[in-house]
Structures are given as structure tokens and as C-alpha cells.
Amino acid sequence: MSDVTYVRLLDLACGAFLLAAVLVLWRRDLAAIVRLFAIQGAALAALVAVLGVHEGLDGHGAELLALGAGLAVLRAVVLPRLLRRAIVGGDVRETEPLVNVAASLVVAAGLALLSYAVTRPVVALEPSPAVRAVPVALTVVLIGFFVLVTRRRALSQVVGFLLVDNGITAVAFLTTSGVPLIVELGVSLDVLLAVLVLQVLTARMRAAFGGTDLDDLRELRD
């Protein structure tokens, strides 16, 4: 793979990765949000695959490809399926978010600028094409956090959390081709379990509160 193709593909994957995150801010249909998350998972897997191919198929590259496949399974198939199961009954749309969509998009732009500013030292340390894409990944982290703060449905929050996680994984692969394998496995397992826990809790919440609007969860207060 030539360097130009590599950079193109890398940028393409990163673009899709970021776009999916921004669109999560825009859409209100929970099913669509889950679909976008699946697309982002696929983009992440593709990103890793591109990195793997660029490294060369012998040695570390092959490992990266395998990891990419694993990521694709986890983040584009398993987690979206788990999430989809949590969409039941009337909770199919996001209620009015705490910050409206237009403002959210503006904030997303601001967050993108911030992540460029913050990652300057990172890029300065190793100005390779992959590392240059780190701001994109960090933007996704920030957007994910923003979703956590502003979206009111339980499911949207889970997606926000997963966006953060996707973003961090992307940063990891873009900077150093991933953290050690055992850590990566542990992290993935933790994420999976966390989503499972949240799914169970969503079910309990629905049983106890009759819905998944997080604004109902305000009984524990001072």
C-alpha cells in the first residue's frame, strides 16, 4: 500500500469515525443512534485494519488486523445488538436534550478546535500521518462526553459512554498502534460488561420508573 493511499484511507476512516459521532448529536431516533454507533465501530475497525496493512502483514501488522476484526465484532455487531435490545416500548426517541441540537453542533465544532489545540504536543512529538489524526479521535472523546452530559435517555448515555471509549481506542491505535494486548482485552471485556450492567439497570429502571428518562432519577439528592 502506497503512502498516499494509506493516508487517504486513514483520513477516510477517521472522517467516517468523526461524522458518526457528530451525527449522533443530530439524530433523535434511538434506533438511528445505535446504527450510527455501529457504523462508527466499523470505521474504527477499518482504521485499525488500515494501520495494520500499513505496518506490513508480517509481525505487528497481522496482530493489528486480528485486533481490527475483534473490534469490528465487538463494536459494530455485539454492542449495537445489545443496545438495540434495550429499545423497547415507547422509548424510541430522544426527548428534548438539555442542549438543543443546533447548539450541540456548535459545541461540537468548539470541541474539535479544543482537541486540536490540546493535541499539538502529541503531534509535535511524532508528526506521522496516524498521529496527525489524533485530534479527530480526541474530538470523538469530547463529543461522547458531551452526549453523556446532555442527552436524557438512558440509551443515549450508554452510546455517549461508548463514543468516549471508541475515541480513546482510536487515540490508542493512532498513537502507538494500541496498548498491550492483555490491556486491550481487559478493556474490551470491561466495556462489554459495563454495557451489560447498564442494560440490566435500564431494564430495572424501566420497571421501577416506568421509563428511561434520566430526569426521573432525581430522588437521591441532598
Binding site: 470541541l111 436524557r152 430522588e219 439528592r221
Partner: protein
């Protein structure tokens, strides 16, 4: 460990621990006796240790394995020995007294004072108070200080099941004592940091070279902390609440031994460790002391709760001690060492005297409380026939507290006055302005003290009973009498031959001012710094002799009983008596602007005519104005902040996450900007 001081102090601490174990383990029937006697032994050993230290047998120890991260460093010098001896003596009286006091009165409803907690904590309280003057490093001092605070707090709330006010008093005490600790900790830790070491020797050596700002900050912080323990205005608010609510022998320990340690702290830090300081330090001390003396005795003069009255009197007396310390500091700064030594001697002697008579007074008040269940002077009266021993004890204490001849308070106040008037020209214009004002404050407080204690004794013990409870009072058990008797004997000894304390006091003062011997003479007290003299013994002998002669001259005829003059209106009854409130009314009127009493007058007219009155209710209450004006706003502000802060945790998970998101982006921006 071979020295007498060390052995006696160790024995004392050991006996305290044994007493605590006895208090926790013995069966209820013998618990007060077992714990009380062990505590008394501990107190006696402490007296031995203190006296040995005062007469030059200093002692020190270093126990690195105790108290993690610091180690325990003990050293007893004559100054510490004085306070150890005083604490020990008070402990002896209170412990013996406590044996009887803890026994439930006949009617069965006990105060719960023979419970495990009280019986086990009291000896620990004594031990902690003994450790404070023995501490020789910052950490040791603070740990002893805080142990003392915790133990006393537990004792203050001992009767919480019987009165709701106990809990409130405990809270005030807990907060104010912690405020004091914070101030002392900040001051001493700051000093230790600046001196690169925390042993007192190290601090003493390094204090000279510190910057004035550091020294000043250290002094102000520690002074605030010690003043709060000593009950100095305006940090006194805990004292008139906690002392009345505590069990009476605990009140005695607190009022006669614990508050002294505030004074000890000021001497130790201000004079010994920092080696004196600029004029403004001592003006601060002097002013705080003078204000405290006046305000304290004024509140005592209008108080009707007997124990509250005694508590405010403690504010007054500690104020007088501080006046002495402040004057001493001023004179030391001016280089007048003999007068400075006189002022310090006066202050320390007043500590001793106050401890003696306040122990006696609180024990007597407790005896009254136990016999009648009353602390309100307006409801007491006529106890002299029913409780002659207690009455005599209170009389001795009251005489001492009013600083009249034949009482021990007179001697130290006389010394204090001598030091103040003797130093008029010593310190330049500043002392020329401050000393007269200090003398005036001292004089007014002495005058008001007379009125206060005439009221307390006259309305509480003389006249006739105002309530059935007072009517039904009976004398207290013998152990309580012994406790009061020992304290009374101390008072009399101090009143008649105060010179026996002179060598010890000189030793204590020489820790700070080497080579000064302020007080000489056996029968007649002579001063090194002034040519005035006084002889309490001669005065006492003359007065008692004259009384005896007159008595003999008057004895010849039998007396006849007769009715009191009732203006021809029929027999007088107790409701017609002057009460404590009415007794204090003229003073309350004179000092209306200071006391700002709250009065509440309700006139209900008859339905038929507005000019005919059906009933009139009048209620007057003299609250603590400083508490009202200074602390209530703070408490209200804290409550408002607490109420507002509850919105921080309003239950919204979004808000909680937003805190994180905001900080996260904020930190990122900060890091991006500050590269």
C-alpha cells in the same frame, strides 16, 4: 526516670489508667468508689510531681515509638510543674467528691453518672490535663490537648438523657474547642516548620531568628486558640453553656484545671518559646483579658443559674490572669524585668487561687444541685439550715471569689494591682495609658464580683426556701463533704499564708525570667518591684481577734426570738423575698447598654375596658450579647450556605457529569494555554 518528678508523674498517669480500667470494668455498685479513689491517688501523685518540678527537679523523656510520625516528648519544668500540681489538686477534690456525687440520690432517678463511660473517661480527662503541661513537642502537646478536649466533651454530654440543653452545650463546646485546636495547630505547626523541628527546645532556639511576621502570626494564632480554651471574650461562648451542663465535679475540673491550660499555653508559647514579643502582642492580651474580666463578671452579676454564674466568673478570672500576663509581657518588652516578674507571679498565683476557690464553688453548687435538682437561684434559698456543710463551703469559696480580705482571691488580685500600678512609668506612654485603664477594669470587675457573690450566697443559701425542692434539701454524703473540705482547706491556706507558694511560683517565673524573685517574706508579703506590703495573716488575725473580743463582750444575755417586721400586713412568705433577679436589677439597669436584656411585656386588658387590666406578663432575659451579635450571624450564614449548597447535589446525573465535563475541558484549555 530516676527523678522524683518523673516517677510521680508516671505513677499518676498509671493510676489514671488504672482508674479508667476500674471505671470500665468494676460492677456498678463499687465503680464510683474504685475509679474515684484511683483518680484521687493519681491527683495526689501529680501534686507530688508538680511540686517536685517546681522546686527544681526537672524531668524529661523521649518515647519515639508512641504517636506515629512524631514520637512523644515529655519534659516537666517548674512552669509545667505548677500547672500539673494545680490540676492534680483539683483532681483529688473532684475525684473524692465524685464518689458520692455519682451515687444516685434517694429518690432513685440517677444522673447516670455511675455509668461506665463517665467513670472511665474522667480519669482519662485528668491524665490528659496532666500531659498537656508535660508535653515538650508540638505533636505531643497537640495530642494531649485534643485528648483533653475529647474526654471533656464526653463528660460534658454525660447527662444528655435528662436535659435537651446538654446536647446543644456539647455541640457549642465541640465546635469552639475544635476552632481552638485549629488555631493552635496552625500556629505551632507553622512555628515548627519555620524552626525545622518540633521539639520545644528546637523551637526555643530557633524563635529568635524568625521574621517578625512569622512570629506575630504564630502568636496570634496560638493566642486565639488558647484564649478560646481559657474562655476569653469573644471566644468564651462555649463556657457558660458547657460548664453548667456538665456534671458538677467535671465542671470543677474544667473550670478550675482545664481553662488554666489556656493560660499555660500563652505563657509557654508567648514567653517561653517565642521569648516575648513586640508591644502589640501584649496589648492584645491585656485588652482581651480586661474585656473578658469585665464582661464575664457583668454576665455573672445578672445570671440566675448558679453554675452559669460560676462559669462566667471563670471568664472573669481567666481575664484577670490574662491582664497579668499582658502586663508582664509589656514590661518585659520595655525591659523592666522585676515588675514583669511581679506581673507574671501575680497571674500565676491567681491561677492557683482561682483553681482552689472555683473547685470549691462548683463542688458546692453540685452538692446543691444534687440535693434539690435546682440550679436556679430564684428557686433556691434557705439551704443554710438544711445543708450547713455545703453552705460553709460555698461561703469560703464566695469570699475568695469576691477578692475580699480573708479570702485567697484577695492576695493575687492585690499582687496584680501592685504590678499594674507599679509599672506606670516603666513602659513609656503606652503603659501610662493602658495601666490605668487596666486598673479600672480590674477594680470594676472586683466590685462586681463582690456583688455577684453576695447575690449567689445571699439568695441561694441564706433567707428562706423559695420552692418545695429547696425546702426538702438534705446534706450531701460524706465523700462529697471531704472533697469540698480539701478544697476549702486549700483556699484557707492560700488565703492566710500565701507565701508558701512563693518558691514554687518563683521557679515557674524563672523559666521565663531567669534570676527574678518577685515575692519575699513569710507573714508579710514583700515585693522586689515595689515597696508596698501586705500581710493577709495579720489582717485575718486582727479581724478574727476583734470579732472574738466583741463576741465575748456581747455574750452575756440570752436572745429572744421575734417576728420579722412585716409592716403589719401579716406573716411574710417566700414569694415576698428578694430574688437573685431582683437583686441584680439595679446593676442590670446601670449596664443596660452593655447587656441589652430582652424584655417582653404583655398587657391583656379586660374585655369591657381598655383601661382595666386583666393580666400582665413580663419576661426579661439577659442573653449573651456577644453570642447573639457575633455567632448567630455566622451560624445563620453557615446554614444558608449549607442550604444553598444542597443545590450542588440535586440528583441530576447530567449536572454531575457536567461538573466533570466542565473541569475536563477547562483543564484541557488550561494545559493548552499554559504550554
Amino acid at each position: 526516670m530516676t527523678s522524683v518528678t518523673g516517677a510521680a508523674l508516671s505513677a499518676s498517669l498509671g493510676a489514671s489508667l488504672l482508674a479508667a480500667v476500674a471505671g470500665a470494668a468494676l460492677p456498678r455498685r463499687v465503680r464510683p468508689a474504685g475509679a474515684g479513689l484511683c483518680t484521687a491517688v493519681a491527683g495526689a501523685a501529680a501534686v507530688v510531681a508538680g511540686v517536685a518540678a517546681m522546686t527544681g527537679r526537672s524531668w524529661s523523656a523521649w518515647l519515639p515509638e508512641l504517636l506515629p510520625l512524631a514520637g512523644v516528648r515529655l519534659a516537666v519544668d517548674p512552669l509545667g510543674g505548677l500547672f500539673i500540681a494545680v490540676t492534680g489538686a483539683v483532681a483529688v477534690c473532684a475525684a473524692v467528691y465524685g464518689v458520692g456525687y455519682a451515687r444516685p440520690p434517694r429518690d432513685g432517678h440517677g444522673h447516670g453518672l455511675d455509668g461506665r463511660t463517665v467513670q472511665a473517661v474522667l480519669p482519662l480527662f485528668v491524665a490528659a490535663m496532666l500531659l498537656v503541661p508535660a508535653a515538650a513537642s508540638v505533636s505531643t502537646f497537640l495530642v494531649a490537648w485534643e485528648l483533653m478536649a475529647l474526654a471533656s466533651l464526653l463528660l460534658v454530654v454525660a447527662e444528655h438523657r435528662h436535659r435537651a440543653s446538654v446536647g446543644t452545650a456539647g455541640l457549642w463546646y465541640a465546635v469552639m474547642t475544635h476552632l481552638g485546636l485549629v488555631a493552635i495547630l496552625a500556629g505551632l505547626a507553622g512555628l515548627a516548620a519555620a524552626a525545622h523541628g518540633e521539639s520545644f527546645d528546637r523551637l526555643r532556639a530557633a524563635a529568635e531568628g524568625l521574621s517578625p511576621a512569622v512570629r506575630g502570626a504564630v502568636f496570634v494564632a496560638t493566642f486565639a486558640g488558647f484564649a478560646s480554651k481559657a474562655g476569653i471574650i469573644p471566644l468564651h461562648v462555649w463556657l457558660p453553656r458547657a460548664h453548667p451542663e456538665a456534671p458538677s465535679h467535671v465542671s470543677a475540673l474544667m473550670s478550675a484545671a482545664m481553662v488554666n491550660l489556656g493560660g499555660y499555653g500563652i505563657v509557654r508559647v508567648g514567653f517561653d518559646l517565642l521569648g516575648g514579643g513586640p508591644v502589640w502582642w501584649w496589648l492584645l492580651v491585656l485588652a482581651a483579658g480586661a474585656v473578658s474580666a469585665l464582661y464575664g463578671i457583668l454576665q455573672a452579676a445578672v445570671a440566675t443559674d448558679l453554675k452559669r454564674l460560676l462559669a462566667y466568673s471563670t471568664c472573669e478570672n481567666m481575664g484577670l490572669v490574662l491582664v497579668g500576663l499582658g502586663a508582664g509581657g509589656l514590661l518585659l518588652t520595655a525591659g523592666a524585668r522585676p515588675p514583669a516578674a511581679l506581673a507574671l507571679t501575680a497571674a500565676l498565683l491567681h491561677v492557683v487561687n482561682h483553681a482552689a476557690f472555683k473547685t470549691l464553688l462548683f463542688l458546692a453548687a453540685g452538692s446543691v444541685l444534687r440535693a434539690t435538682g435546682l440550679r436556679d437561684l430564684d428557686a433556691l434559698g434557705g439551704l443554710r439550715t438544711r445543708m450547713p456543710l455545703t453552705t460553709a463551703a460555698f461561703a469560703v469559696g464566695a469570699l475568695a471569689a469576691s477578692a475580699l480580705p480573708l479570702g485567697n482571691g484577695f492576695v493575687s488580685e492585690w499582687l496584680l494591682l501592685q504590678s499594674l500600678i507599679g509599672s506606670l512609668g516603666e513602659g513609656g506612654t503606652i503603659s501610662a495609658v493602658t495601666m490605668p485603664v487596666a486598673v479600672a477594669a480590674l477594680a470594676l470587675s472586683a466590685g462586681l464580683a463582690v456583688a455577684t457573690f453576695v447575690k449567689a450566697f445571699g439568695t441561694g443559701f441564706l433567707a428562706r426556701p423559695r420552692t418545695p425542692q429547696a425546702q426538702a434539701a438534705a446534706e450531701s454524703p460524706a465523700t462529697m463533704g471531704v472533697g469540698m473540705g480539701v478544697a476549702a482547706a486549700c483556699c484557707l491556706a492560700l488565703a492566710l499564708v500565701p507565701a508558701f507558694t512563693a518558691p514554687g511560683l518563683a521557679g515557674a517565673v524563672q523559666v521565663v525570667l531567669p534570676g527574678q524573685d518577685a515575692l519575699t517574706g513569710q507573714v508579710t508579703l514583700r515585693l522586689a518591684a515595689a515597696s508596698s506590703t501586705v500581710s493577709p495573716l495579720l489582717i485575718a488575725v486582727s479581724v478574727v481577734g476583734a470579732v472574738a473580743l466583741l463576741r465575748i463582750a456581747m455574750i452575756r444575755r440570752a436572745r429572744r426570738r421575734a417576728r420579722l417586721w412585716d409592716c403589719g400586713m401579716g406573716p411574710l412568705n417566700a414569694r415576698m423575698e428578694y430574688t437573685a433577679t431582683s437583686f441584680a436589677e439595679p446593676l442590670q439597669r446601670v449596664f443596660d447598654d452593655v447587656l441589652a436584656p430582652e424584655t417582653d411585656l404583655n398587657v391583656t386588658p379586660l374585655a369591657e375596658s381598655a383601661y382595666l387590666v386583666e393580666s400582665v406578663t413580663y419576661r426579661a432575659r439577659v442573653g449573651d450579647r456577644i453570642e447573639r451579635r457575633l455567632y448567630r450571624p455566622v451560624v445563620a450564614a453557615a446554614a444558608a450556605v449549607g442550604e444553598a449548597a444542597r443545590r450542588l447535589a440535586n440528583g441530576s446525573v447530567h449536572r454531575y457529569l457536567a461538573y466533570g465535563f466542565g473541569t475536563f475541558t477547562g483543564v484541557l484549555i488550561l494545559l493548552a494555554v499554559t504550554r
